[in-house]
């Protein structure tokens, strides 16, 4: 409670503070399309990570610029064995199949989020959320693992993380992937030129993949802290589990 009062002092309206009613009452039902695309995307994301790793095994060296090969100095190399054939073959097939599923699920999710005004109403931060006080209390809450179990509205860190992943990281991931395709860049050369070269695009694709895996780890950690069973049930059936999690 002390914490809530502290928060109140800094912000005009923060939904978390407005009501501390029980979860079931305030929980919004997760729309079917969001649940469906969440899980097809989860599946494709695992396919992309596994196959991305398999592809790297064929050449675990990264470069900057247009070209790079064993006769040029790498920007960095991963301490992995070089495996020719095998993983990079099925890896590439799995990567593209997963990428199609990811892009189609992602598109469906973004279109539904725009149409339902989910992004504008629930994810676009209000001006006052950028105030120093609001930031401070939000970060402090995270550090103390306070109020993570509540189910009413996103805080500023969540909003920025989700918007960043959906509207910055994933589009950049797709773009840097396209940049490595000799046929796509024959039609749209700017896709590789914005990165400054084929190998730079490959390296950025790798960095972004790491960032997204990091996001996934934080995402799953936060879900675990907020009540794993309840949140998982909500993402499957649409409603959180009936029983109360530890607050």
């Amino acid at each position: 409670m002390l914490n809530s009062r502290h928060l109140m002092a800094h912000s005009t309206y923060i939904p978390e503070v407005a009501h501390e009613a029980n979860q079931a009452q305030i929980a919004h039902r997760v729309p079917l399309l969001v649940r469906l695309t969440h899980w097809t995307f989860t599946l494709s994301f695992f396919g992309l990570v596994v196959s991305g790793f398999a592809i790297i095994l064929a050449h675990p060296h990264f470069y900057w610029g247009e070209t790079g090969n064993i006769l040029t100095p790498p920007l960095f190399s991963l301490p992995l064995p070089t495996m020719l054939g095998g993983p990079s073959g099925w890896g590439r097939s799995l990567h593209f199949q997963s990428a199609w599923l990811a892009v189609l699920s992602g598109l469906l999710y973004v279109i539904s989020g725009v149409a339902s005004r989910h992004f504008r109403n629930e994810l676009l931060p209000a001006k006052q959320e950028f105030s120093l006080g609001a930031w401070r209390s939000c970060v402090a809450d995270h550090l103390r693992l306070n109020r993570l179990t509540q189910n009413d509205g996103y805080n500023i860190l969540q909003k920025l993380a989700y918007l960043g992943v959906v509207f910055v990281a994933f589009p950049l991931m797709i773009l840097s992937g396209f940049a490595m395709s000799p046929s796509i860049t024959s039609v749209l050369p700017w896709m590789v030129e914005v990165f400054g070269g084929h190998q730079t695009a490959r390296t950025i694709h790798f960095f972004l993949a790491n960032l997204l895996v990091l996001f996934l780890l934080v995402h799953v950690t936060m879900v675990a802290l907020a009540g794993f069973t309840s949140r998982l049930t909500a993402m499957i059936t649409g409603r959180p589990a009936a029983h109360k999690e530890i607050q």
Partner: protein, 254 residues
């Protein structure tokens, strides 16, 4: 609304969606076949991805979109080579006589089957390109390639209107095929020169394919024969090239 009713509704809607989906996919497949949007390795577990990628790229690319070209100053100082030239058999004999007896036959669905020596190919109009070649493994280089456009040779022999693919065979048992969009593309060369010199054996002497809009493995080395065909079903395992047998895609435009 009672629970059973909504469930029945859901099942009905699900069935309707499935039937529509299957009918839609069947229709889409017929149309795709008609417009040449189905790759020869469209079967199997990776078929959907291969087909979506190939179809989307063929629709996106105007047939003559050009791979990026570079300046001479961008040319890589050293070019790594993967694989070794064939060390025995006919290729060894041809190499020992400096390819004097080498000729490449072009046959199949053509009006005037023919064969050409390297000198005859060199007397045809020479084209050059400074392009980026990326290996499927991830590494890449820029080089200048010299050769004759495959389209020039195909026009000399006269390709049948029913033809759909150009198959290339090599002395190292490798084989591959191109659809006509890539076979007639201005940057698809029968290549006999690299960075101002004759092609070295390590780079595929005396003649290799150069397909600028696809990954390196599509630029087959040590060419021995070119065949024009309307179907790939009876060649090898019927998937359009040797690559699918090793887990790689037939289409390497990625």
């Amino acid at each position: 609304m009672s629970e059973p009713l909504s469930r029945r509704k859901m099942i009905t809607a699900g069935l309707a969606a499935t039937v529509t989906g299957v009918a839609g996919l069947t229709a889409a497949e017929r149309i795709a076949h008609r417009y040449g949007l189905i790759p020869p390795d469209s079967g199997g577990v990776w078929g959907p991805g291969e087909t979506l990628t190939y179809a989307a790229q063929r629709l996106l690319m105007s047939h003559h979109s050009m791979a990026r070209e570079f300046n001479r100053s961008d040319i890589s100082k050293a070019i790594p080579v993967s694989g070794e030239p064939p060390s025995a058999g006919l290729y060894k004999e041809l190499l020992e006589s400096s390819f004097r007896n080498w000729r490449i036959p072009i046959d199949g669905m053509v009006a005037r089957p023919a064969s050409f020596s390297i000198d005859e190919l060199k007397r045809m109009p020479m084209s050059s390109q400074i392009t980026h070649q990326a290996c499927e493994e991830g590494w890449s280089f820029i080089a200048e390639w010299h050769g004759v456009q495959l389209s020039h040779v195909l026009n000399l022999v006269g390709v049948s209107a029913k033809a759909k693919y150009v198959v290339v065979n090599a002395y190292d048992e490798n084989w591959d095929s191109l659809d006509l969009a890539d076979a007639f593309h201005p940057q698809t060369f029968l290549t006999y020169g690299l960075n101002g010199d004759d092609l070295s054996t390590r780079h595929g002497a005396p003649l290799r394919l150069k397909v600028a809009r696809q990954l390196g493995y599509k630029s087959v080395k040590f060419l021995s024969r070119i065949t024009v065909t309307d179907s790939l079903k009876n060649i090898g395992s019927g998937k359009g090239s040797l690559s699918p047998d090793y887990g790689y895609s037939w289409y390497a435009g990625i």
